[in-house]
């Protein structure tokens, strides 16, 4: 059961990496968080699961969609690397994380290794989204995906971090998203567009 | 103590002697050898005229200069005490130069500038010659070289040709005289006497300490006169070459005395 969920999370990560429209990205994130919710629930961490549901499945995607409607930009995700290549890169990242997970836990059980590998892969793909997409909103989503990966790692490997830490992390994520959202709005107002590459002039 | 009084009394005589000799060699009669005494007496009798720009330094300088120069007499006995003597002369010069600047005239300033310039470079020559004397007195070559270096330095310090002309009346060519330009009366007398005492002290050092024979003093005075006659006054910046030559001689004298000490 967990394996299926993990595979689902991985597949959604691929979907996000090769998504062509922003609403697709946000939807992918929503579904991935949903799967994460189910997984955490299965692990027995009910409180944390509830928070995941609240924040990552309901509130944050709602907030992101709202921004999308407000700034009325072109729904195209600005590509530095085209979708096909991105997908290949995602696959390569998955391969690397498998090798890394295997070296890390050379004598462990397979389920754990797969969980580790998936979480590293998700983290890597979140980073990929941040680096190789031009729009500011995609960077927020990339950050959230990385956070998903970390969360996955924490809940499968260690049986969850202490509650306080989880609370703090969630608070951090929520607040960062709000702030980044505001920034995106401002960037849009200033530059008529959210192309982050236009910020190149801000250097010493 | 007696030495002290004798030196002060005889200093003008030496000066007069040199002047008379120079003139005789120029086939003229020249003034009497006691002329400096008559001059001093005349100055002492006259009133002083002091510039309104000057301060108390101008008034006190003649006494300071004379005191320092006269005190130097007590330090001519052995080579070691010559170091203090050089410092005392520097004391006298310091105040004389200040007095030259005090009157707010260009000539005084010029004389002060030139005097400091020449004397700054003469000091190492003096110290090196003193060092040579102090290190060893039994090496003939070292004594001769030190004597020559000291002689050249003495010519510079006592404002003789080829460094400075005591007989000039053109302010632009003066070095020592320019600083005395504003002085008159008693102060001028004291300053002139001080200059003559300094001259005598230098001659005494060369004759007495190097050759250990004070009777050579008139010989050196004659030498001074001959040098004054035969050379012309140098341009100020050529004096540097002159001092460099004296310096080289002094260095060689030190080397010779070191080597002499080893041999």
């Amino acid at each position: 059961m967990e394996l299926l969920l993990l595979l689902g999370i991985l597949a959604l990560a691929y979907a996000m990496v090769s998504a062509k429209r922003m609403s697709a990205l946000i939807a992918g994130f929503k579904f991935q968080s949903g799967l994460l919710f189910v997984l955490t629930g299965l692990e027995g961490l009910y409180v944390v699961a509830a928070i995941v549901l609240l924040l990552k499945v309901i509130l944050i995607p709602f907030f992101l969609f709202r921004i999308l409607k407000q700034i009325k930009v072109d729904e195209q995700v600005g590509f530095v690397v085209n979708p096909m290549l991105s997908l290949l890169a995602g696959l390569f990242l998955t391969y690397l994380s498998f090798i890394f997970a295997r070296n890390l836990f050379s004598g462990g059980e397979l389920g754990l290794i797969i969980a580790l590998a998936v979480s590293f892969a998700v983290m890597g793909m979140g980073a990929f989204i941040m680096i190789f997409r031009l729009k500011a909103l995609t960077q927020i989503i990339g950050l959230l995906v990385i956070e998903n990966g970390i969360f996955l790692l924490a809940s499968t490997l260690t049986g969850g971090l202490p509650l306080i830490v989880e609370m703090a992390v969630f608070l951090d994520v929520f607040v960062s998203v709000i702030i980044l959202g505001i920034f995106v709005y401002r960037i849009n107002a200033l530059f008529t567009g959210i192309d982050v590459d236009q910020l190149k002039g801000l250097r010493g | 103590m007696l030495r002290f009084i004798l030196i002060i009394l005889f200093a003008p005589l030496v000066s007069g002697f040199i002047t008379r000799l120079k003139n005789n060699l120029r086939l003229r009669r020249g003034p009497s050898i006691f002329q400096p005494y008559y001059n001093l007496a005349k100055y002492f009798r006259k009133d002083e005229v002091v510039s309104q720009e000057t301060s108390w330094i101008f008034r006190i300088t003649p006494y300071l200069v004379f005191t320092a120069t006269a005190s130097a007499v007590f330090f001519t006995t052995s080579p070691g005490s010559l170091i203090t003597l050089i410092f005392l002369f520097s004391f006298a010069r310091f105040f004389l130069v200040l007095a030259g600047l005090d009157a707010a005239s260009s000539f005084g300033g010029m004389g002060s500038s030139r005097e400091m310039f020449i004397s700054s470079f003469i000091e190492p020559v003096l110290f090196l010659s003193v060092a040579a004397l102090w290190l060893s007195t039994n090496s003939m070559i070292a004594s001769a070289l030190a004597a020559t270096a000291l002689f050249l330095a003495a010519l510079a310090e006592t404002s003789r040709i080829p460094v400075d002309n005591q007989e000039t009346h053109l302010e632009l060519t003066m070095v020592h005289e320019a600083m005395l330009l504003e002085y008159s009366g008693r102060s001028l007398a004291i300053l002139e006497l001080a200059a003559q005492v300094k001259q005598l002290i230098f001659l005494m050092i060369i004759a007495g300490l190097i050759f250990n024979n004070l009777a050579l003093l008139p010989v050196i005075a004659v030498l001074v006169a001959l040098v004054e006659l035969s050379l012309a006054k140098m341009r100020l910046f050529r004096v540097v070459d002159y001092i460099a030559f004296a310096g080289v001689l002094a260095v060689f004298s030190v080397v010779m005395s070191i080597v002499g000490a080893i041999i």
Partner: protein, 605 residues
Amino acid sequence: MGWFLFDPLSLFFIVLILLISFPAFIYSLGYLKGHHTRFKNILTQLAMAAFVLSMILVVSVRQVFVFLIMWELMSLLSYFLILSDKDSPKSVEAGTIYLVMTHAGTAFLIMAFFLMYKVTGSFDFLVIKQALAGLPGHTKDMLFILLLIGFGTKAGIVPLHIWLPYAHPAAPSHISCLMSGVMIKTAIYGLLRFVFFMLGINALWWGGLVLGLAVVTCLVGVIYALIEQDIKTLLAYSSVENIGIILLGVGASMFLVKAGLPVLAVLALSAALYHLINHAVFKGLLFLGAGSIYRATGTRNIEKLGGLIKTMPWTALFFLIGAMAISALPPLNGFVSEWLTLVALFGGVLGLSSGFLKLFFCFCAAALALTGGLAAACFVKAFGIACLAKPRSQQAAAAKEVHWTMNFGAGFLALLTIALGLGAVWVFKLLAKIAGYTTGLDASAMNFSPGLFTLQPVGNISLSPVWLALLLLVIMGVVFILLNLVLGRSKVTTVPTWDCGYYKLTARNEYTATGFSKPFRLVLSFFLLPYQRSEKIKESFYHVKSFVYETNTKQVFNEYLYAPLVNFTFNLGRLAKNIQQGSVHIYLSYIFVALFLLLIFMGRF
């Protein structure tokens, strides 16, 4: 764990610090009055008190780490004090140069201290001293070089001296007095403590190197002082020169310790210590005087001063005493310490065996004589042009005597100058003991003064400052009285200066400071590299309306040594700037690439 070390060496320096801080503090009461808000004045005074405290702690702590902290504190506090008189962008530039240079020096000190810790395993001075005794020669050599560079930057050894002419003039005058009089001496303390006391002299070339550097420092300092027209910059360069003279004594002592001539070594070090305290006193005095002049006239340029001896008699008198002391005029303290250093060098000439070494010491003595002569020329110019003759500007003509606290501070130091000169014998006895303790030689049997009033350092050379002073006074008194008795009081008429028939001489007919030092500028042009620019503004072909003449000298060390270094560093920075592309994506990729590489390097992949 002992925190403090109150041995003779540190007590000497503590006395020195307190001796100079007291008049500087009194002076500052008058100096700061009315020029800043009351709050800022109190803040500055507190900073100064902290500065003095930090210096006292520097010379008395026993742990290397605490020493370093106090050293840094001293540098930082002085930096803030320099900037407290922030009237121009020059102060900021001065502060920056000072900060950079002092930290460069501290970097070398840190290197030396770490090396010391590595080889001895302790931070305590006394423990290190024991442990350093058995170390191999090249470790000690390395330590010596690092310490020399580190302390040399603070002391002002050429070519590490460039911060001095910027920092000392920019600071308020009582701080300049403290910096020039005391702070650069703490660097000499560092050298004495770490090299003499702890390391022990290992090789002859140490002393030779210090002597060579000292000669260069002397000459460079005095040459630049000669051509300087800003009175405080002139004093700063003169401090460089005097540090050179102190180092002549220190270097000679290092050399003589290793050469096995203990009496002469103690003599040389005592002469250096004596010049150290003398310089602190008369340089402090000169800076306080310069500060009074600046307060009264608003300018530091001596070309615009003049006639101050009539409008500010006390300030001028104290400045004169300082100038006399620094030019080594008998019987003041500068004369005694320069005399002693000369005699120590001559003693070295006599005592050393190799002919080449004798010549080297002789050459050092000649260099000392030359700097003495040039320094006298420099201060004759400074005092003569600033204080004598006619005022050269409105500000100078309008000068009034300063607040009594400022003159009190200066007067205290002037009295101290005279006292240190006359009391030379007793001071020297104390210093010989301190020097003996520092070099580790037994100085109890060395007697440098046969009588109560005479110093007889070497052979048959002797000096008695008290008798000399008495002699001068007696002769002067006798002459004066004699003349007045025999000839009656002289009748003096006051008239204008002889003016060759052009009536109405103005201040423009006086000699200028630039003119006074022009012969030196010409003769030393191979080093000073002067350049001049002249421009004729003509109304017609034959009629020149005005003429502009500008002459300047190149700062050799700044242009040929430091400017290339600074340019090189900036170019490196420009190259490194290319990393900052401005694109968020590239920055993000930097992060992840770095993470990735870290994982690989940690062997975890």
